[in-house]
Symmetry: C2
Subunit: 249 residues, 2 copies
DNA sequence: CGCGGATTTGAGCGACGTCAAGGAGCGTGG
DNA sequence: CCACGCTCCTTGACGTCGCTCAAATCCGCG
């Protein structure tokens, strides 16, 4: 089964595993009450499952509770571009909620659990909880900033710079979310990297090999171990995104 | 003089030239009053002027009233990537207002007039006018959607497809805003196109020549006349963004 | 063991970059 | 009016980064 909706066994927001992380901001108890009410259930999907499909008009909006996914678009002939990766605390489907129809798809990389919200209640949130509304705008502005960086990367960096940037970026996010045990392991294939960087899979492989030869990464078991994040940042010339504490819903 | 602040001679929001356009949504009179109060003055800059600089902490937030500009980022060695174009009704500096520091720069293409808002009042807007707060989120989500399209384009389209997409995109936006007299004229140089598409200027020139040979465009006088928007859409395989009525502040 | 997906590697090619030079248009100063 | 210097556009020659085609290997899974 690809998707499972567990209305009954939902994690109460008071016990949200993300909330204690220093990466995320605190909630007031009022906000927490509202979000808890806003949350309608949980959805768990298997790796490879499509969470949202381009063109769909979903009644829902999600926050990722655990797991990895990615957003992508495709051209008519099948060429695929991965736009960004989706990780715990990220809002999924906001674009669809606001413009009516999803303009991109979302696919799970690992088993993913999502908090389910109802699109129709978004207006209530804006009316009654301005601080949460501001948080949503904050999250949207952050996504925009990340897309800006990706655009710079794909448009103007060389293959090896792009690859190094992407892996450093993912490693940094994973570390901030404590999604790592000791070493950082990214659950992606080289095909994902290729589709993110706008490169062919063959050239991606050769480029990643160069990074591996330098000891920055190891590719193993359909995933990438990041051994030397600083080396990746040096190769790409990327400074990293400094984020102290960020909101989530 | 590159910039001129005219606090005295500001266009009252009741007489905003954008408001009557079918492209934009209506305001209630209460919203209009607030926005009018929110607006602190107007800023007019000359072509080529930097409106906002990466790294700056501006106390202001702007809406474009007239003219063309673009957002961009640069790498340390000077490689430049244009992220998107800024046109009337667009919000400028929201990212800076929310994350503290601008992560990209904005430069004027033509003479640009901007409505000036104060960043500190953004919280008041969220508290007191949820509908405007929602509009701001709407605008942010729209920008995200456009960046998604650009990313797909740069990552996966060929040079001629990318060029055709970009020009069709700009032509469509210009037409929706009635920034055209008869034919669509885009006030950009080939260097701007190159920096948007992630191509060299030489290859951009050769690519644009192909589009000109097909009769889709004419390059003239530091600007691009779009003669056949449908041809551009056909070449790029881009469907266009359907937008009925959109909000602005 | 066989199969399919992921990774790896080599060979050849083509899209796009770099270098270089020239022309057109425009503003400035003589 | 003309010379100049500047930016932008154009074009050719040539190099290279990244793509396609092709084949081999590895691995988990049924």
């Amino acid at each position: 089964m690809a998707a499972k909706l567990t209305n009954s066994r939902k994690t109460p927001c008071e016990l949200c595993p993300l909330r204690p992380l220093p990466h995320f901001r605190e909630f007031t108890s009022e906000e927490l009450d509202f979000v808890s009410d806003f949350k309608k259930g949980e959805l768990t999907v298997d790796p490879g499952a499509i969470v949202l499909l381009e063109g769909a008009r979903s009644a829902h909006l999600y926050t990722v509770l655990s797991g990895w996914a990615f957003r992508y678009k495709t051209l008519l002939d099948g060429r695929r571009q991965i736009l960004n990766y989706v990780m715990p605390g990220d809002l999924v489907g906001l674009q669809g909620s606001i413009t009516g129809e999803m303009q991109h798809s979302v696919e799970a990389l690992s088993t993913v659990t999502l908090c389910v919200f109802e699109r129709t209640q978004l207006h209530t949130l804006f009316s009654r909880y301005p601080s949460l509304a501001y948080d949503i705008t904050w999250i949207a502005a952050r996504e925009e900033r990340i897309l800006d960086e990706h655009l710079l990367s794909i448009g103007r960096r060389t293959a090896i710079e792009r690859a190094a940037y992407l892996l450093a970026f993912l490693a940094q996010r994973a570390k901030a979310l404590r999604m790592v045990e000791g070493r950082v392991v990214l659950p992606i294939t080289q095909q994902h990297v290729a589709d993110t960087l706008g490169l062919s899979i063959v050239h991606t492989n050769k480029t990643l090999k160069k990074l591996a030869d330098r000891g920055a990464i190891v590719w193993r078991d359909r995933s990438c171990d990041v051994l030397d994040e600083e080396a990746l940042k040096a190769v790409s010339g990327w400074e990293g995104l400094e984020e102290k504490s960020r909101p989530f819903i």
